[in-house]
Structure formats: C-alpha cells, structure tokens
C-alpha cells in the first residue's frame, strides 16, 4: 500500500530533474531553423549536424581533449599525494595532525573566486600559464583535501591488525602499502578518483582564468563561442550534452558510494 504514493513522489521528482536535460538533448538534435522557428516538443527533422560540427572542428573537440588531459592529470596527482597522507592521518597521531587536517578542509571550503587572480599571476610568472599542468595544479586546491578526507574515511575501516601482521611477516612499508593495503581500499581509491575527476570536470572559473588557447577547456569554449558567433543554439546544446556523457558513464560504477564520497568519507 505504501509503495504507490512514494513511487509517485519519485516520478515527479525525477521528471523535474530530467525534463531540463531532455530539453537540451532535444535541442541538440534539431536544426537551428526548427529551434527558433517552430516550437516542438521533439525534433521533427532529426539531424546530427550539430554533433558533426563539434566532432570535426578542432577548435571544438580540442576543448574536450584539453579538459580530459588536465582532469586526468589532476586526478592522478591528487590521489597519489593523498594516499600516504590519508594513511598517516588514519593510523598515527603526530604533532599538529588535527590542525593540519582542519587546514586541509578549509581549502575545500575556500571560494575559487578568491584564488582566481593570484593563480593567474602565479602561473604567469613561472611560465605555466595556458598549460594543462597549471589547471591540474590549481584544481589540487580543492581536490587534494577532498581525496585525503575520503581516503581517510575508507582507511579507518581497515583494522590495524592487518598492518601489524604484515610488518611482523617482514613486509617493508612501501611493499605492504602497495601489495596489501591498496587492494584492501581499492573501492575507496576508486571513489576518491571519481570525485576528483568530477570536481575537476565541473569547475570552470579557475580553468577559464588559467588558460587562453592551448589548454582551453570545453566549458570555456562553450561560453566564448556563444558570444562570438551569435547564437548557434543547436551546437551549444550538443556541446552541453557531450559534457554530461563522461559523468553519466562513470557514475554507474560508484553508485553505491556516491553518498559516502559527498559526505567526505563519513557516512
């Protein structure tokens, strides 16, 4: 008996979530004439022209390539430096650990707008402006703390006896960490990597400020093309749809851990 009203609630909520996305997909499959001329709930003249424009024009598809390059770089850096740190936080108490942990959190909470201008000047002065690594490092600002927190949450679930047994068996720390410990928290590493990927992918303010041509992300390409060439609504919508796909693809694998990741590893 209780199933019915709750199913209705979910249906309404999901409709609310999906209709705007549907509208974007709908527009991406229409010609510009149909978008501006007639008002239709579904594409009457189905066309893939908008997608073809993006996938054949380097100034468009390089945006995706750039985004993916810096996002992957950032994910690798973030998880690699966060792993030993998270282990230290979950296993040892040391001088200033609480303060350090809190300080990391403040970086996750600091508004990117505060950092936009100083980043621009810092990376310009060291000659990194408009490179992928600049954006990757800038995104470490919020992704490294996030990765440390999530990994720490997963690592504290692993009993300490495992570490001790391994040391008694004569494992050195690096060998133990790579061979025994990392496989144990593989799902945690996956979740941390997913969240780094995601937050680096959705961020625009810093990546736009730090790039001009060579490393320009797709998100920035979208905003600039809109103002430059009038309104090519179809292509804009198609570009938007293509930015949703990577997230939609990976989310299925981490669906049971999404909440844990958002809660910084503390559910």
């Amino acid at each position: 008996m209780r199933l019915k009203p709750s199913a209705l609630v979910m249906l309404i909520y999901l409709l609310f979530l999906l209709v705007p996305i549907y509208w974007l997909v709908n527009m991406s499959l229409k010609t510009n004439a149909e978008i501006t001329g007639t008002f239709s709930l579904y594409p009457h003249n189905l066309t893939l022209r908008n997608y073809r424009v993006i996938l054949t024009d380097p100034s468009w598809y390089m945006g995706y390539v750039n985004s993916i390059i810096y996002v992957v770089m950032n994910t690798v850096i973030s998880v690699a430096v966060a792993l030993p740190a998270a282990y230290a936080f979950s296993r040892y108490s040391f001088m200033g650990d609480k303060h350090l942990f809190f300080w990391l959190l403040t970086n996750r909470m600091s508004p990117p707008a505060v950092f936009a201008l100083p980043f621009f000047q810092l990376y310009s002065s060291v000659g990194l402006f408009d490179t992928h690594i600049a954006v990757a490092l800038a995104h470490c600002l919020f992704n490294v703390p996030l990765a440390v927190w999530i990994l720490e949450g997963f690592m504290r679930g692993v009993p300490k006896e495992i570490d001790e047994t391994a040391y008694i068996d004569g494992y050195s720390f690096p060998r133990f960490f790579v061979r025994i410990f990392m496989p144990l928290i593989a799902s945690g590493i996956g979740v941390a990597a997913f969240f780094c990927f995601m937050f680096s992918w959705v961020e625009l303010l810093l990546s736009r400020t730090l790039t001009s041509v060579n490393a320009k992300p797709i998100a920035a390409t979208m905003t600039r093309t809109v103002s430059a060439s009038g309104m090519d609504w179809g292509v804009l919508a198609a570009a938007g749809v293509l930015t949703i796909i990577p997230g939609a693809l990976v989310i299925w694998f981490v669906r049971n851990y999404i909440a844990k990741g958002f809660a910084l590893g503390r559910v």
Partner: protein, 295 residues
C-alpha cells in the same frame, strides 16, 4: 581506533603539504600583499595599510552583495533540506529501481557548472525554452532577463534542481543504516508515520544531515558560475552574489587592492564556518565511535 604516536608520519604528509602550499598558500600570500598595498601598475607598490579594508567594510556594494548572498543561501537551505529529506524517505530501498534512481538523481551533480547555467538559460527563455514558453502560455508575465523577481526564482529553481539530490543522497545513506528491526518494533508499538520519522529516522540521519546542510551552505555561499551564465548578475545587480562581485572587481575592473581586501574578509567568513563544521563533525565522529555498529 587507537592511534600510534609517531612524528615520522609527517613524512607521509609532506607531498600533500608541498602541493597544497603551491596551490593555496602562495596565492593567498599574494592576496594579503595586495590587500595592504596600492599599485599603479609596473609592479610598483605603496603601503596602504588597512585603507582597503576600511573602504570595503563601509562599501554599499559589498553590503548589497553580502545581503543578497545571505538571503540566497537561506532560501536554498530552506527549500533543499526539507525537500531532500522528503525525497530520501520516498526512494526505493533496494533492487534495480534503487540503483537506477540513484544514478538518475546524481546526474545533475555531474554536469559542469556552466552547462547547468546554459541548460536553465535555454529552458527559461520565452522564445525557445520549455519553461519560459509554458509559463507564457499559462498567461504569466515571466522574463528572467528583465524582472529581478523572475531572475531570482530562476536561479533558485536551478539550484534546487542542481543540488537537492545531494541532500537526498546523503539522507538516503543515513536511512540505509537503520536496521529493519527498528521499524518492526515501531509497528508492534503502532507508532504513527510521524513518530517513526521523528524518533527513528531523524536521529539516524542527524550526522549526514549536518554534513549536507553545511556543504550546501558553503557551496551556495561561493556560487559563481551558474547564476553568472543565466543572468550575468543582472538585471541590474539583483543577482550579483559575493563571488560574482569579487570577480567583477578583480578581473573586470582590476581593482586589486579592494578586491584583495574583499577576498580576505570573504575567506575569513568561510574559515569561521569551516571551523564550526569541523568541530561539529569530529564530535559526531566521536559519538558514533561509541556505537560499535554503524556504517
């Protein structure tokens, strides 16, 4: 868990320190430097003391942005938290449907911020958008580019669309950790639906709910891209929130001194809230550690 005292653990933290120092401390020092100096370009700086801070504290513009920001965050929380709880209570508990619903709900969270803005910008347009067109067909005078109220409603609905799922997902995770026996006991006692919610579900969700509230507060407090794409801060200044104003000042007008002073005050507010967040969270961690079971 008992932790071993070992100061050598610092070596494990070192890589994080180096990376975060490069991406957070050095830029922050630049901001501090600007906030107390005046410059006419060419890297020539003149000591300005607290002049900029004084100017910013008394700035009408900043007060306006801060007021709008506070109002925005308050409205967002007032809508998203109850709605998120409500949705979480109605989510299917297991099986294929539960997975599908989880994935569909998480979808808006994974869309780049400016694409979220673009979606709603298009969706709300009266000429080509379903929402704008629909409201017009109902005879409502809706235009988010001219009318401040419509702009606010659009930005708020957009944020509800974007982030309510986060609250719902966190609450859902909290609900999942409630053993079935609790519900059975409540059934035997013939507890009302409200009593079950009030005395079983809400206490179990407390921890995650706090995290959800504080995350939503923090992220809405530094919102930039989405309203910027939809309204550009307009009409007039009606949707110019703190971050939008700051970027306008720093990058648009290149008023480095005031912008830096603004940044530091902004950062201090965030720091204060983060501290509260951290304290509350570690307390919850501790109280949960007393209960042997718990996810």
């Amino acid at each position: 868990m008992e932790k071993t005292q070992n100061n050598k653990a610092w070596f494990l933290v070192l890589p994080v320190l180096v990376v975060v120092a490069f991406s957070a401390v050095i830029p922050l020092m630049t901001v501090v430097n600007y906030s107390v100096n005046d410059t006419f370009g060419n890297n020539a700086f003149f000591w300005a003391g607290l002049e900029w801070f004084d100017e910013m504290v008394h700035s009408r513009r900043l007060h306006g942005a801060l007021g709008r920001q506070a109002l925005f965050s308050a409205i967002i929380l007032a809508i998203e938290v109850p709605l998120g709880i409500f949705v979480a209570l109605n989510m299917p508990k297991k099986g294929f449907w539960s997975s599908l619903v989880l994935v569909l709900m998480a979808l808006p969270l994974l869309i780049p911020f400016n694409v979220v803005g673009t979606i709603w910008q298009i969706f709300g347009r009266t000429d080509i958008g379903l929402l704008g067109r629909g409201l017009k067909a109902l005879g409502l005078d809706y235009n988010y580019t001219n009318d401040p109220l419509d702009a606010w409603i659009t930005v708020i609905v957009m944020d509800v669309w974007h982030w309510t799922s986060l609250v719902a997902l966190l609450c859902y995770a909290g609900l999942q950790s409630i053993p079935q026996a609790y519900y059975q006991a409540a059934k035997i006692d013939q507890a009302s639906r409200w009593a079950v919610f009030r005395h079983i579900e809400l206490p179990k969700m407390k921890g995650v709910l706090l995290i959800a509230v504080l995350l939503r507060f923090m992220d809405s407090f530094m919102i930039y891209t989405e309203p910027f794409v939809v309204t550009g801060g307009g009409p007039g200044n009606s949707t110019t929130f703190l971050s939008i104003d700051l970027v306008k000042m720093a990058v648009g007008q290149f008023d480095l001194g005031p912008a830096a002073a603004f940044s530091i005050m902004y950062f201090l507010v965030i720091l204060l809230v983060s501290w509260v967040f951290y304290t509350v969270m570690t307390n919850i961690d501790r109280s949960q550690a007393d209960i042997p079971e718990g996810m």
